[in-house]
């Protein structure tokens, strides 16, 4: 059976769901950030697969994947800066203990 669009879409859905599970179930803020990166990578796979199989000459999906990468880099920089600053103030990065703004 040859590899088609469906295989890549299912792979991207699996990676997205794994990232979603990690982001919801984990308590460590850095692991939550890593799970979000996995989700972004899964979405990028779907976009590159659409670009390859549906509009092979336009490359729009690849351009979108580049933008997703840039946004992921910005998000990692700001997110890790926030985590380090929280660790300096509160000596923990446990997401259940960072409840200063919890009503």
């Amino acid at each position: 059976m040859s590899i088609g669009l469906g295989h890549y879409l299912i792979l991207s859905a699996i990676l997205f769901s794994i990232g979603l599970y990690g982001a919801l179930a984990k308590r460590n803020a850095i692991v939550i950030l890593m799970s979000i990166e996995i989700m972004l990578v899964g979405v990028s796979i779907a976009m590159v697969a659409f670009s390859r199989y549906v509009v092979p000459l336009l490359l729009t999906g690849q351009v979108f994947a580049i933008f997703v990468m840039i946004v992921a880099a910005a998000e990692a920089a700001v997110g890790l800066a926030i985590i380090i600053s929280i660790y300096r103030n509160r000596e923990t990065i446990d997401a259940t203990k960072i409840d200063l703004m919890k009503w």
């Binding site: 590899i3 088609g4 469906g6 879409l9 299912i10 792979l11 699996i14 990676l15 997205f16 769901s17 794994i18 979603l20 599970y21 990690g22 919801l24 179930a25 984990k26 308590r27 460590n28 850095i30 692991v31 890593m34 990166e37 996995i38 990578v41 990028s44 796979i45 590159v48 697969a49 670009s51 390859r52 199989y53 549906v54 509009v55 000459l57 336009l58 490359l59 690849q62 351009v63 994947a65 580049i66 933008f67 990468m69 840039i70 946004v71 992921a72 880099a73 910005a74 998000e75 990692a76 920089a77 700001v78 890790l80 800066a81 926030i82 380090i84 600053s85 660790y87 990065i93 259940t96």
Partner: protein
């Protein structure tokens, strides 16, 4: 035939590494398996004949983001405490499985219009044309540059010593 074998190996390695990121108790090992996952995804891009994107994936994700994450792990000394699951372990599993079911059902039951045209082979000049050329994404490129600058300035201000 070679493409199929490559896809299956890369897919299994990528999904396995992503599972290890979520399931491992040691954060540092989780970060290392995140790097394996990113490299496998770069290989997936090569099988989709997106060579430029694979190179950028290795440069940005493995070269920058993974290093940043490892640096943050070392700065926060959370390795001893590990990466425990919260109270939402079972509901999160249900939500993730539900999400996978809905998304894969929708994706597999949509009649995509598969094009029979072979993909562009050297993609780098074509992507440059789409990004900077006439009728391309030049406004988005410049906006993203401003976004990156703002993110870097914000990160510097957040971690600056008082």
């Amino acid at each position: 035939m070679a493409l199929e074998a490559t896809f299956w190996i890369l897919a299994v390695v990528g999904v396995g590494a992503a599972l290890l990121v979520v399931l491992l108790g040691n954060i540092f090992r989780a970060a290392l398996s995140l790097i394996v996952c990113f490299l496998a995804v770069a290989g997936i891009y090569v099988t989709l004949s997106a060579g430029f994107l694979a190179a950028v994936q290795v440069l940005i994700y493995v070269g920058a983001i993974a290093v940043l994450i490892i640096l943050a792990i070392m700065l926060t000394r959370e390795v001893q405490r590990g990466s425990p699951f919260g109270r939402l372990k079972i509901p999160a599993l249900i939500v993730a499985l539900l999400c996978f079911g809905v998304v894969s059902f929708a994706m597999l039951n949509t009649p995509w219009q598969i094009s029979a045209v072979p993909p562009l082979e050297p993609t780098t000049p074509a992507i440059a044309g789409r990004l900077f050329g006439e009728g391309g994404f030049i406004l988005a490129v410049e906006t993203v540059g401003v976004l990156l600058l703002a993110a870097i300035l914000g990160a510097i201000i957040l971690v600056r010593e008082k």
